[in-house]
Amino acid sequence: MKYLVLIYGNPMSRGIWERLTEEQRAAGLQAYTELTESLAASGELIVTEALADPSAGKRVTVQDGKAMTTDGPFAEVKEHLAGFYLVDCDSVERAVEVASRVPEAEFGMVEVRPVLSLSDLGSL
């Protein structure tokens, strides 16, 4: 089963990150490196990316077949997606274990979502 581990950020988590000492930040980044390496080694990692700050984002609207963009950040959005891991593992328990190793999990900013399968068996 594939699961998407979503890592969110908000002004609070950003503030915490900015107040960390150099060593603490290094330790946080090290935790990510270790998690990524261990998931690659176990053959569970499909892809992981960290996203640029929401201020670099653009919102796209198509009107009359024409695409228009609005530049971020978007004030009404309290939380933003900061990065993700797409993993393929044996169980949701295992996916939760993966998510619990993301440093942001300490602040409750990590979510596990199952990916819909294309299998049409085991149904009906």
Partner: protein, 400 residues
């Protein structure tokens, strides 16, 4: 021979060649790499130059040469100055094979491996698929599959798992693990609606091929026979199971004229034989249930009483939440939808079922049958939100 025939031949030979190499030289992990390379070489050369007179011998020779190169470079890496006695090139025309497919299957489904690794390793070492083909079939990147296979091989090496059949005391458990992996591969299969599907190995077909090989080695194992029958009887409905747009067609609405009658006949013969002559087991019972469905030329002719009896037996020997639910459906078909809904309310006490999409889907179906369309739609919508399968979600949404 056509390219497709050559591919089929190569994949049938793959486990035999691998078995020969491992017995001669030891080192499952390196042998597996060598065989994979020999298969790739054959896939290029044979369509161009013709199939050699002794295809199996050709593969063994090429794989052995490659293996020696691998041993050499490994040894060279380890200690360049040391003179290494390299093994002699093997006899190019090997003695008739001891059959290694069973041993290989059990090694690939070794209990120390994760399930995703068991699947990948089985498809490659026994199925003879390339890493790229496995990746396409499982819809994951090639690097992910390569890593799974290499990790699994390291694990087998570290565990000291040997290339021989497990002792009799462990045999049943190890066969059960193989059956689980084959069933998992079968269920990974799906009917893709896009043209890209032509490039994919169909995992359901591959699982049937592997189950057939296992059945040839263990013809008296009723559960092996049962699983093969279950796969054939389920796969027989594939042409009727999806609409051209990829939408699901439920069993009751399928055009039964599209069903594969040869597969049904084979499945029925297999399960009938197993039930009559071997100890009864869950795969045989599920196959028997599939057979009862397949025997009905019209949905209305389905012998639901017999299906209910089979579910009662199944619930007795292998109880589980999905068995409970399916039994409720059979109960409703015999005793009426309202009686089924009462049973469903009882089933909901099982914590594994409370909140499960299948419970909502069954409730929706029974409410529909009972004529309560409004409540049914609500339950279909609930089930659609909770399912983890995309085709199923589309189907459930269409009913809501």
């Amino acid at each position: 021979m056509t390219t497709a025939e050559i591919e089929g031949l190569l994949r049938d030979l793959a486990p035999q060649v691998l078995g020969t190499l491992v017995r001669r030289h030891g080192g499952f992990d390196t042998c597996e790499d060598a065989v994979q390379e020999a298969l790739l070489a054959a896939a290029v050369q044979w369509p161009r130059d013709g199939v050699p007179a002794n295809p199996r011998g050709w593969l063994v020779t090429v794989a052995s040469r490659r293996l020696i190169e691998l041993f050499r470079s490994e040894a060279a890496r380890r200690r360049r100055e040391e003179t290494v006695a390299v093994q002699e090139p093997p006899d190019p025309d090997p003695a008739p094979a001891v059959d290694d497919t069973l041993t290989l299957l059990m090694l690939c489904c070794h209990p120390s491996l994760t399930q995703v690794s068991q699947v990948a390793l089985t498809l490659r070492a026994v199925g003879g698929l390339t890493t790229a083909e496995i990746a396409r079939a499982l819809l994951v990147p090639e690097a992910t599959v390569a890593q799974r296979i290499s990790r699994a091989k390291q694990r087998i090496k570290a565990d000291g798992a040997e290339f021989r059949l497990p002792p009799d005391a462990e045999r049943a458990e190890r066969v059960a693990a193989v059956l689980r992996v084959l069933y998992l591969i079968f269920n990974e299969g799906y009917t893709a609606s896009s043209g890209a599907a032509l490039q994919r190995v169909e995992l359901s077909t591959e699982a049937i091929r592997l189950a057939r090989q296992l059945h040839e080695r263990l013809p008296d194992d009723g559960e092996v026979t049962g699983l093969l029958a279950l796969m054939l009887l389920t796969d027989a409905r594939r042409p009727a199971r999806t609409r051209p747009d990829g939408g699901l067609v439920p069993l009751a609405e399928q055009d039964r004229g599209l069903w594969d009658t040869a597969a049904i006949a084979e499945g029925i013969a297999l399960v009938t034989g197993a039930l009559a002559s071997t100890a009864i087991g869950p795969y045989q019972l599920q196959a028997a249930i599939a057979a009862v469905h397949d025997e009905a030329t019209r949905a209305g002719d389905t012998d639901w009483q017999q299906i209910l009896t089979l579910y009662d037996l199944l619930a007795g020997i292998a109880p589980g939440p999905m068995i409970t639910l399916n039994r409720v459906v059979a109960y409703a078909m015999v005793h009426g939808p309202r009686a089924g809904l009462d049973r469903l309310a009882e089933a909901e006490d099982d914590p594994a079922l409370a909140g499960h999409y299948r419970l909502a889907a069954v409730r929706a179906h029974l409410l529909d049958l009972a004529g309560d369309r409004a409540a049914a739609r609500q339950q279909y919508a609930l089930a659609a939100r909770r399912t983890l399968s995309l085709p199923e979600r589309r189907y459930l949404e269409s009913r809501a």
